[in-house]
Symmetry: C5
Subunit: 356 residues, 5 copies
């Protein structure tokens, strides 16, 4: 399970080990104020413009391969050593952490739907926020934050003039929104499976159901600590003052959305469990029906077959006491009548048992 990747036990914290399969690093810088916006891709940390009062600097780092660049970035903006470590070791638990009053660090796992839509994965998104500066780290390029950039370019007033705390909110809100398509897919698949299971199903649908449950567990595992992190941003006194009251309202809204996502996940899990129960009962019921048919047929015909076998025996009818009934007149119609009575007797018996 790749999710267990972790630095080697006992290593000094701050040790940076790069995943050899990591995507090559690209760095994009957006610098904006209410009136201005400049945007550029840079290759050295020294190309990044300085932080200036009144402007917001958004550095978007995609791909975590170039360790030197990341380390330079950490030094240039004086980031805490654990921040750079947590950014690179991409299996952190989602969290919001404050290093002093001036530096906030948020880690989240964002679901990424594969374009072919048959699978989804999560990637770690890390966010360092300081006065005038937001640094966003992603494992792979993804379109999740494109619309924020669009809105910046279009010059939307609120976003352009609201500074670092509002940009932080906008990024977090995009991450929360990224859970919706995955959850929607799972819910839709669950409904389809429900219909199939209620109709008539074999083990394929059962495996699908189990697979949905697995995915819901995985999704929950990413969503729960994200909600916690949002909650601690809302309540933690150390964060106090970073988000202005007008932004806090929006952040609370994002927290509500995360809560709603979690509730939907839990409902779907409960539904899936109820469905699994139902299915087991339905199969048992069907087996019971099948058994009844078999038992009725066998119970009627096995004694009758015994009877016809009995009179198929080759006993010498001339010996004393041997099968005199074979020689009786109308023996055959009498036997037929007996067998019909036996059959009717069993039908009555089955009726009483409630099997018919």
């Amino acid at each position: 399970m790749s999710t267990h990747a972790h630095r080697r036990p006992g290593l000094s914290p701050g040790t940076l080990i790069v995943d050899p399969n990591a995507t090559a690093t690209t760095v994009r810088v957006l610098r904006y104020s209410a009136d201005t916006l400049s945007e550029s891709e840079i290759h050295k940390v020294s190309e990044i413009p300085p932080i200036e009062p009144g402007t917001t600097l958004w550095i978007e780092v995609v791909g975590l391969k170039n360790l030197d660049l990341l380390r330079d970035l950490g030094e240039r903006f004086d980031l805490h050593p654990l921040v750079v470590e947590d950014v690179v070791n991409v299996n952190q638990r989602p969290k919001a952490e404050s290093y002093g009053v001036s530096e906030h660090f948020i880690v989240a796992r964002m679901p990424i739907v594969d374009p072919r839509r048959s699978r989804w994965t999560t990637e770690q998104v890390s966010l360092v926020v300081k006065s005038g500066l937001v640094v966003l780290f992603q494992e792979k390029p993804s379109p999740a934050f494109d619309s924020i950039k669009e809105r910046l370019r279009e010059g939307r007033v609120r976003l352009r003039s609201s500074g670092v705390d509002y940009l932080t909110y906008a990024i977090l809100d995009s991450i929360v929104d990224a859970f919706y398509p995955v959850l929607l897919d799972l819910s839709t698949e669950l409904e389809a499976t429900e219909d199939q299971l209620l109709d008539d199903a074999d083990n394929t649908e059962l495996k699908t159901l189990h697979n949905i449950r697995r995915n819901l567990i995985r999704l929950r595992r990413a969503a729960l600590p994200l909600r916690e992190a949002l909650g601690s941003l809302l309540r933690d006194p150390e964060v106090d003052g970073f988000f202005r009251p007008e932004t806090l309202v929006f952040l609370r809204d994002a927290h509500d959305h995360a809560t709603r996502t979690l509730e939907q996940i839990d409902n779907d899990r409960e539904l899936a469990a109820s469905l699994a129960d139902l299915y087991l009962s339905m199969v048992s019921n069907r087996t019971n029906d099948v058994m009844k048919v078999l038992t009725m047929i066998a119970t009627v015909f096995i004694p009758l077959s015994f009877l016809v076998g009995l009179y198929g025996m080759n006993f010498d009818t001339n010996r004393a006491g041997n099968m005199p009934e074979l020689d009786l007149p109308y023996a055959y119609p009498l036997l037929l009548a007996l067998m019909v009575s036996i059959g009717i007797g069993f039908v009555v018996f089955f009726k009483r048992k409630g099997w018919l």
Copy 2:
């Protein structure tokens, strides 16, 4: 699943996207004080009378299609941008929110029973409360609040003279009450299903049971955050002072009713789960009974059929060692006696096993 509707990821908050199937907007204004009551349907926001001390203005907006009207309303009464967004994007989590001390915003989901009674849906009801003003937004026309209007028209003293906080309570109480008929239907259906399952059931009853569980999960999903919202109105220090002590008592009563509804839902869910367990055991029991009958019949007659088959073989009885028993006198009655003994032996065996 339509419940996942949500604004496109990354959109600026405050963006209003109208559902093309939304009901056309109608606005009804009630303005009352202890002595006066005027009521009118308006088409432009400018027709709404101003807020005056001593009177309460209740604006009831039904249908969310006319976005311009809603936006005008927001501007006229200076509502927070998120309020209008949450009103229009109708899949909010029920909540109570305060924007400053003077504006409170409550979102709830209210169950609406279809007149044909076979289905129910939930619709979002939003409530903005400011000094002297209550704005109520509904997705579709529903009779849920008619009795409040009746009481206003009849000139009930308490309602007419108690102002905005009491009207807020009255609306919330109506929403809580709307859960009762749906829950009553589900509980009644659950009891009927219970009786059928205990009698004798097939997979139809199982599907009904599963359906009830689904509906209970859905109902709970609407009721739980509503109770939370009522609880936060009772306890949140930001709301403090809005509800006067004499109204708080009533609000606490509505909170109790919501709690009672939730407890009933949870009891029904537990009962449904216990019922599903019971059913599985009963089916297994029945299969066991069916199997016993089959096994007894087969166990008795299969060996006997073998015996009669044995003496039906065409071995030449004149050859050395071949079936001399066929020629014995009284061979047939002896064989019959043997077979009766075998039958009796098995009956004793079954008695000992406790199958008879």
Copy 3:
């Protein structure tokens, strides 16, 4: 489900709707101090003596049909409108509420065992406590509080001289005690069912087990909010000062008893669930045993029956290649030997499978 009775949605709170099947109202007044005790049944509210310092007035109202009397009572003692409503609408959630410092209102559901003992129901008991006054409302006459009256008449020092708070405790304690006989019945029935299920059971015992679970759910539903109400009497600062420290000790004891009742209910529910699991496994086990017997018998005799059938065929033994074995000497004993070997072979096979 009668438990859903509720005032019509949207009705003004305080509206009193009387259940047409309610018991006719009788009012009994006890007035006592350390030295005196007077007791009378009254028919008009004006007959009730006034509250006097140093004496305790206990008004016991049984039956909720006479709405005018109840309303008069409310007016005479200046009760909160919600109190009278909650008393009459008898499906309140158990709770303890304070209306200001001087009026406390407690609602409980008390289990009433039917004298024929085969069923139990719950009825709402409401309690209004003011300085010097306790009003107790019951739906139907019940002997639950007779022993308190006995103790008053006998002149027990503590009860007679301890005033309103101690009487309140004594009534609450009687309500908590009323859960014991019902729970004892259920526990005893559960134990009996356990013994029967472990022996050998059919679906009757399963239905009994399910019925016990239902009753435990119902009992829990009455007991849980009662414990909460007692807890809030112990801790709520609004109640502070009403119960004197020497009475608080007793109230805490009643709270412990309620907790103990709840723990017993939960243990019984867990036991019942474990029992249902056990039963399913035992039935599956029995089915497995039955199947083994059937399979062994059938597996041995079906091939043998085939063999004897084979040599019962009427092929003309004079044609080329047709059944020459029938004509062999000692063919019959050889065939018998073959069939015995087949039988022994299967026995060995079954031993290896562990079925014998």
Copy 4:
């Protein structure tokens, strides 16, 4: 269920009802200081020496039959009336209660293993602690506290010189320790049952498993409130100051042991539940295997038996169209070949189904 014994509903608290089967009361007094120790069995309360500063008086009451003695004891040391009631009515919920600052009352249920080891019961141990005085009430004589007495007699410094709070801790610690042997027995039995169930089991092991679950539920019911009581001794401000800091450390240790016991109980319960699940799956699996064997044998031979029956019919082969195949040369070997092909066909079919 004897655990429901309770005073008659409505009785005045403080009423003492003695269980007629109670053990006769014996009272043992230990009085010690750092330097001195005297020990005696007394028969009248007046024989008990007075409480003196610097000495600790430990009164051990075993057996609760002599009500007068208990009442005298209560009067002599001025115990709260509820204390004596709770001591005698031996089905209290374990708890720690303070009556004012100077009197603390602790009730626990202690498991007592029957010497024959096949059963265990719980008995109530009550503890009243006042300045310089510890009164310990037990239902029956048990060796649980012997080692404390040994240590006192041996003159262990810490115990002899640490006063009432340390003695209280020592007694509570002995009670917590008394859970270990019972839990150890249950865990060992669970492991043995696990091995048997995984091998091959019948309903005897299932009943054992259910019995273990019952016992774990019972044990938990005694241990959980004991841990709570220890926790409230650690945290309750009313108790504050009674335990000196150096004793608090030991008390926290006893609390840890109780927590560990509870965690072990919960683990064992979870393991037992998982085992019950496993067993059901294994039985289902075995039934499936048995069914496959039956179905394979029956499916191969039933059609073959039909064929051999077909050619055993007595149709007159001389009539037009009647069974000409019987007269063909090599008809018999051809039929045999057909039957072998049918058998091989089914084997291939079963292979494809994965049954072989």
Copy 5:
């Protein structure tokens, strides 16, 4: 179950009982400051250098057999008597305890993977921290802390110059990290079992699944109190000031890792439970399929076999009424046609039932 080892009930706390199978004690002393590092193995407590300001003394005790040495150590460094007892009695619940402001005691259980990797056990690791001193007790030698010693020897600046609190963090972090390989093994095994169960499985895979669940329960039991202990180090006011703010950040990180481990364990447990459910449904489904095949074959051929048996009877066709149909022309083809119709009739019946 060896996990229940515990001092004999009633023993004085502080009594040291040595496990006769304990590993012989070895003591290793590391003494370092930013500039210096000395390392030695000692055999008597008197060889340990004194604590000096500016240097950190790390005493690593492996093996708990030499009781005298442990007791000398406790005396030399003035450790609380409970500390030495808890170190030696190795079944403590993981915890963090403070004895006054200057002495902190941490107990953890660390998973140790057996080199042969087929099993893992836990051992108790205890940690006493005082000003300038860390004493680490282990039951057996393990390489878990080697990398810390490496880093000390390599002269890593942060570790060498950060003193006692950072060393404490580094040791705790190593313990948290020790859970990863065990959990990784279990998760990998769970995934493999999942694949096998979904393919086709017998009871071996079921036992493996149960075994994984057992191990997850065991692992959780060690991890949960460790997380709690880390949490209390973060929050407990008594610990306040011991960890400097710059170390607290790292400790919070270790707490996050422990939380992540616990979440992974819980997810795996849920997955295993869902898998067990799935498996039961799949087996029931397979049994249902097997039953259908048997029932179809038997239902078609049993009546047919009856028919062919019927005409195999030896009734004298010359007697009145006896089997005239045997003598009819074309009787045989007619019978064949009848039997084919019966077969087709059943196929249609099965199609309608949805079995084909």
